[in-house]
Structures are given as C-alpha cells and as structure tokens.
C-alpha cells in the first residue's frame, strides 16, 4: 500500500517548548487511523501538521509523496484541497446558514455553477441527515447537528483524506455512536483515508484499523484494536483503562 501521509523526523516546537519530537510514521490509503492520548500532549497539533495548517519546526510531512511545505504554492493548494477536516469546535461560519456553510468551499474553490453547488449541498446534507436545517444558522441547531454539518462541509470538496478532531466531544453516547457510524459509512462510500482523534475508547475501537498514542512528545504506534488492548507500554495500559495511578499521573495529585 502507498503512504497517503508520511512523517519524516518531524519536530514541533512552540518558542522554547518542544511539543512533538522525532515523529516518524505512515498512514496508508483507505486506512482508518485513530490517535489517542492525554489532553495537551499534542494530538490536535499533530492533526494540524498533517492538514497543513501548522508548519513543522523540523522534518518533512509528505502527502501522497509530496512535501507540502517544500513545493510550489499551486501544488500546495492542490494538496490542501485533497483534505477535509472536522474541527474540534466544528469551526462553522456562524454568519452563514447551514446550506451556505457547505456551499462555502465549493463557491471559494471550484468553478461549479450555483445550480450544481445547490445540488451538491442538498446531497451532502441529505447524507448527514440534516437537510431539514438547510436555512438555519449554526447556533440554531443542536451540538450533534453541528457535528454533522461540520462533516458535510469537510466532505464538500470530496477529499481523499479526512481529519476528524474529536468528532464525539461533548455529545451523548447515543449521538456519539451515530456520528461514528456516519463517519464509517461515508468512509466506505467515498473510500477515503480517515485520521481521527478521540479519547472515547469505545468509539476509538469502533473506528480504528490502526491506533497510536501521543504522549511525552512521542508517537507510540499501538497497532490494531487487539494489539492496542494487549499493549505492554504502561502509559498505554493506564490510558486505555483509565487507571488513576500510573506513569501518566505520576506528577499529578489524584484525589479520587
């Protein structure tokens, strides 16, 4: 399988602080790759590095074999347009209606006619089951519907790689499950590569072909669901079982 995303010795620092160090891994076409790990360890930063929103301090990030920070601007744009993202806070444009949010990428990026765009908008909203909210504004719909809208917008340019930054955050267990099932159904339909962050282990197991944990600036590839569950690294064991005592909470006072 060819690598859709490849990290080569990537390091990410903010001023003096090194958040991610010497990250090397590959994600293959059509794969469902799930990132887990404690809060503040750099999972979202890792995702934003893959998505081309942040530039690494060192190292190379290859998307379909192309270094996105070392190519012509038009090639970088072409790479960016192969990717879609559902942001942690949805990042919906609150001055635009639900329909306009989905139409926005198509209006800005493509040469499609307005008629074609409207047809596509209705198709994607139908796919995520919120067509009835077409004319509403994002703050007029529920959290679950906002996630669905975020997914519809991420899919609007029919990207091959889709990033989901904590797609079930703040949702109840039933809605979470429905959102993950939606993500999996769309992945199957579009044959896309998905990279997701979640701290909900049930949803992670439901989604993942392969998993990795971000901790202490490292990326630990934990393998498939079975391998992750049997992983020997004490940090992985503590995290996936939610134990209060262990290396992850060594320097934290636990008042359970």
């Amino acid at each position: 399988m060819s690598a859709t995303v490849e990290f080569q010795n990537v390091q990410m620092s903010f001023e003096e602080d090194v958040l991610l160090k010497n990250i090397n891994f590959q994600i293959h076409k059509g794969e469902k790759f799930v990132l887990i790990g404690p809060s503040g360890e750099g999972k979202s930063v890792l995702l934003k590095l893959m998505a081309g929103i942040l530039k690494p301090s060192e190292g190379k990030i290859l998307i379909e074999g192309h270094d996105m920070w070392n190519c012509l601007p038009k090639d970088r744009l072409a790479l960016l347009r192969k990717m879609g993202m559902l942001f942690q806070k949805n990042a919906l444009f609150d001055s635009l209606t639900v329909g306009e949010n989905v139409a926005f990428p198509m209006r800005e990026i493509t040469q499609k006619s307005e008629q074609e765009i409207q047809k596509q908008v209705k198709y994607f909203l139908q796919e995520v089951d919120i067509l009835h909210a077409l004319e509403l504004f994002p703050d007029e719909i529920s959290g679950g519907m906002q996630k669905r809208l975020g997914i519809a917008r991420a899919l609007a340019l029919e990207p091959g790689i889709i990033f989901y930054d904590d797609p079930t955050a703040g949702l109840d267990p039933i809605t979470s499950r429905m959102i993950v099932e939606l993500i999996l159904r769309l992945q199957k339909e579009l044959n896309s590569t998905i990279i997701a962050i979640t701290n909900d282990m049930n949803r992670a197991y439901q989604m993942a072909d392969r998993m990795a944990m971000v901790v202490d600036g490292e990326l630990i590839i934990t393998g498939n669901v079975g391998e992750t569950q049997q992983h020997k690294d004490p940090r992985v064991v503590q995290f996936i079982h939610g134990y209060l005592k262990g290396p992850l909470t060594e320097h934290t006072e636990v008042n359970a």
């Binding site: 998505a51 081309g52 744009l77 990042a91 444009f93 800005e108």
Partner: protein
C-alpha cells in the same frame, strides 16, 4: 534586582516581536490589496457595515460636539474680548481641522474596530481561521483586505460627512442661540477655512481608516481562547487604535501646518 531587569527585558522583547508582527501583517495586507483576486463583493459588504453602522452614531455625536463648540467658544470669547463675532470662524477652523475627523474616527473605532477585533478573535478561537487555511484561503486576503479598503473609503466618507454635518449644526446653533445670521456665519467661516481644510480632513479620515482594521485584525489573530481572550483582544485593539489616532492626528497636523 535581576528579576526586575529580566521582566523589563522580557517586555522589551515582547514589544519588539509585536511591532515586527504588526509590520509584517501591514506589508502583507498591502501586497494583497493591490494583487488579484479582488473580493469586490466582500469590500462592498464591509463598506456597508462601516458606513451604515457608524454614520448614525457619528452624526449624533458630532451634532452635540458642534453645539458645545459654538456655545463654549462664544462664552469664553465674550469674557475675554467682550465679542463673539469671531466664533463662527474659529469654530469652523476647529471643526474642519480637528473635531470632524478625530471624533468620527474615535466613534468608528468603538463601533467598527471593536466589532472587527471581536469577530476575528472569535473566528481565531473557534478554529474558523484554521478552516480557511485548510481550504487554501489566505486569511489576510479574505478577512483583512476587504476591511482595510472599506475602512479607508468609509473613513474618508465619514470624515467629510461629520465635518459637513458639524458645520451645519454649528451654523444653526450660532443662528438660533447666538444670533449670527447664516450669511454672516458663512462669511466668517470662509475667512478662516478653505476647501484645503476639507481635503486635509479627508486625508486624516483615510489614515485613521487605514489603522483601524489593521490593529483590530492584528489583535483578533492573536486572540487567546475563552471569553476573556476575546474581551482582551477587543479592549487592546480599541485602546491601541485610539492612541494611534491621536498620535497620527498630531503628526498629520504638524505636516499640514506647513501648507496653511
């Protein structure tokens, strides 16, 4: 002692970095302003926002300012020279050279500048700006350039509007309160001011309009998470713009003084 020196040094470094970042934002904005693609519909949308949102407040406030200027000038002139015949001329001078442009700019700052900082700040913390980047849309071209062009045009329009309204109200007040006829007001006014003063007022309006969106967007882009972050970005932008307007006004008045 060392910690005091450290903290002073840190503040100096932070200030230098902020100034550097602001200069970079300004230069990039200027480059994108004069290179295609031009977002014409966004410019008109922002222009409507700047003028429509600010004009009623500007008109209301300059009317009050004009009335106060006339009444106060008359009161003090009568005390000093026992005559207020020069009031229309002096008032017109004060209005055209200072009051109209500066008051309207400060009002635009509180309405439009604060609005831009809050909007961009909210977009920053809710990852909307990341969403733009993800689509390959340059946030400076998308957000700053239309606001800059609209604010410069709006600054000129509002400055001229404020001056004209202010002069008209000053004339009415001097007519009904002080007993000067409209004719005598205009004659006195023309002895003190000329069209050049209105042009200079328009130039001041353009310069103030240039600063407002740049500073607001700068603080918006640097906004930290949370309601406090947006509040701080808004406050910082309004304070910085207000100081900038007063400083620019001083510099421009100094330069214009060579042309009077």
């Amino acid at each position: 002692m060392i910690s005091v020196i450290d903290s002073i040094g840190l503040s100096v470094i932070k200030t230098v970095i902020m100034v550097r970042d602001f200069v970079v934002l300004t230069l990039r904005t200027l480059v994108y302003t004069f290179t295609p693609p031009f977002r014409v519909s966004d410019i008109f949308k922002q222009l409507y926002f700047v003028i429509n949102e600010s004009a009623p407040i500007v008109i209301f406030c300059v009317c009050s300012a004009a009335a106060v200027t006339i009444i106060e000038s008359s009161f003090h002139m009568k005390i000093i020279i026992q005559n207020d015949a020069l009031v229309p001329g002096f008032a017109a001078l004060l209005i055209l050279r200072e009051l109209g442009a500066v008051v309207s700019a400060l009002l635009v700052t509180s309405r439009v500048g604060a609005g831009i900082a809050a909007e961009v700040g909210t977009m920053q913390i809710t990852e909307q700006i990341d969403a733009l980047k993800m689509l390959g849309i340059n946030p400076i071209r998308f957000l700053v350039v239309p606001r800059l062009i609209a604010s410069v045009i709006g600054g000129v329009v509002l400055s001229i509007l404020a001056n004209l309204v202010c002069l008209y109200v000053a004339m009415l007040v001097s007519q009904y309160k002080l007993g000067h006829s409209a004719g005598s007001f205009i004659v006195a006014m023309r002895a003190f001011v000329s069209m050049q003063d209105l042009y200079f007022a328009a130039i001041k309006g353009a310069c103030f309009g240039f600063v407002i969106p740049l500073v607001s967007c700068y603080f918006g882009f640097r906004c930290k998470a949370g309601a406090e972050g947006v509040g701080l970005a808004t406050t910082n932008s309004v304070v910085t713009i207000s100081i900038s307007i007063i400083t620019i006004d001083f510099i421009l008045s100094w330069i214009f003084s060579y042309f009077y």
